[in-house]
């Protein structure tokens, strides 16, 4: 069956295993997560929650934070147990680990920080459907040391969060002519005045807020990244 392919994978990746987290190496993990292998723009993973919640900046930020936490923790756990898990059962193992982590984070947040949970709570179940997590478990955490896996999880999460915020900002500006509306829902009374009304008497552009706007905005973001990459190359 596909065992030969997997064997080759293992051989190639075992090279990485030996490396410790040197400066260059860490730099690569960071730039991969944020730009070169960004989960939102390049791997195109986790599109379902990404497109669903980015109606405004604050919602994007909420899902972003929840993703960073889950991705970092799951990468650490998967990396910690990587030598004991046989490769035949690794996929169901990842599913079990991720679902358990998400549930435990959800319950703990609900008990410890009910305020935060009432805001981020709706995003946490969405993370179970986010294949970035299982993607990083398979591609990185299962083959690397804990420190590297943790860094990768955090950086991939951050890269994903940045895409969420950028897309949220685009859709909010075009769709309702505001930025950071409802910031006080997340940051409390301090953020009461953060709401920026960018245009007077803006009528709103419904398409940007509805799902098609998410796809169009996403396409524009990917195109923008490609243009920038081309500029850098030449």
């Amino acid at each position: 069956m596909s065992s030969t392919v997997e064997d080759i994978d293992v051989i190639v990746d075992s090279k990485i295993e030996g490396g410790s987290c040197s400066v260059d190496d860490c730099k690569k993990i960071i730039t991969d997560g944020l730009w070169h292998n960004n989960p939102g723009l390049i791997q195109l993973l986790g599109l379902c929650p990404l497109l669903a919640v980015t109606g405004n900046v604050i919602n994007g930020l909420g899902l972003g934070i929840a993703t960073i936490i889950t991705l970092t923790v799951s990468n650490i756990v998967i990396s910690f147990t990587r030598n004991w898990i046989r490769k035949e059962i690794r996929i169901p193992y990842y599913v079990l680990v991720i679902a358990s982590i998400v549930t435990i984070i959800d319950l703990s947040m609900n008990a410890i920080t009910p305020e935060l949970h009432s805001i981020l709570g709706i995003f946490i179940p969405l993370i179970v459907t986010n294949c970035v997590i299982i993607g990083r478990a398979e591609a990185f955490a299962s083959k690397n040391k804990i420190s590297r896996a943790a860094l990768d999880g955090f950086m991939m999460g951050l890269g994903f969060a940045l895409v969420l915020v950028a897309l949220g900002a685009m859709r909010e500006v075009v769709g309702s002519g505001t930025l950071f509306s409802e910031a006080s829902v997340m940051f409390g009374p301090i953020a009461e005045n953060w709401n920026l009304q960018l245009f007077d008497n803006y009528k709103g552009f419904l398409l940007a807020i509805l799902p098609p706007g998410a796809f169009i905005g996403m396409g524009l973001l990917i195109a923008f990244k490609n243009v920038v990459d081309k500029k850098i190359k030449s």
């Binding site: 109606g55 405004n56 919602n59 004991w84 898990i85 046989r86 035949e88 059962i89 169901p92 193992y93 079990l96 680990v97 679902a99 358990s100 549930t103 435990i104 319950l107 703990s108 609900n110 008990a111 410890i112 009910p114 009432s118 909010e172 769709g175 309702s176 509306s181 409802e182 006080s184 829902v185 009528k203 709103g204 419904l206 807020i209 509805l210």
Partner: protein, 206 residues
């Protein structure tokens, strides 16, 4: 392969154990937090000092088939000095744009006027239908003081349906759902307010 099966079963066991433990550990705290949240929401639809009883525990559940509500509806009965003061209905409407909308409707026992309305749970379109959320606009406060005579029953609709209540830009379905739910709650309260509080007293005596 058999070994793999065993280790997977072992992992599943550990995962279940961890999740179950977390659940047990957080259970009480979560219930406590929920009660605080509920009380906070209830206080938003009943003016300060309008009751002195244990509001969370003096509730009645109205079965949907007896009451005419679309779902089972919980009523919290606020009283002051043993006198009925406000009945707070936790109504669910299914007329919204996406999924059920849960709202609290507080109705004063003395004149059947509204003491407050709050949307506590919804999945309406962000930026459009969610303006009935108090954190986003003060639209729901326009219900305060309204009753079945003010405006007349025929005008208890959104403006688009020829009534008196403003809808908000870009969304008619959500405000219509809420106005209709509040109206039917008022109609129910008009006929049943006395018996609700009597039932509460009887249950307390037993």
């Amino acid at each position: 392969m058999q070994k793999a099966g065993f280790s997977l079963a072992f992992i599943a066991f550990v995962s279940v154990f961890l999740v179950a433990t977390t659940d047990k550990l957080t259970e009480n705290k979560i219930a406590e937090n929920k009660a605080i949240m509920l009380l906070r929401a209830l206080n938003q639809v009943s003016p300060e000092g309008s009751y002195d009883n244990d509001l969370i525990n003096s509730k009645i559940i109205l079965k949907s088939k007896d009451s005419g509500f679309s779902r089972d509806t919980t009523v919290y009965l606020a009283s002051k000095n043993k006198q009925p003061s406000i009945a707070i209905f936790e109504v669910t409407t299914l007329e919204g744009y996406s999924g059920a909308i849960k709202i609290l409707v507080g109705i004063r026992a003395d004149n059947n006027a509204i003491s407050g309305v709050r949307v506590v749970q919804h999945k309406e379109t962000p930026g459009l239908g969610d303006k009935m959320d108090i954190r986003k606009s003060d639209w729901v406060t326009s219900f305060i003081g309204k009753s079945l005579g003010n405006p007349d029953l025929i005008n208890w609709k959104v403006e688009k349906d020829g009534g008196e209540f403003k809808q908000f830009t870009g969304a008619t379905i959500t405000p219509r759902a809420i106005v209709n739910a509040v109206r039917s709650t008022l109609l129910y309260a008009q006929d049943n307010m006395k018996s609700l509080f009597n039932r509460d007293l009887n249950e307390a005596q037993n």
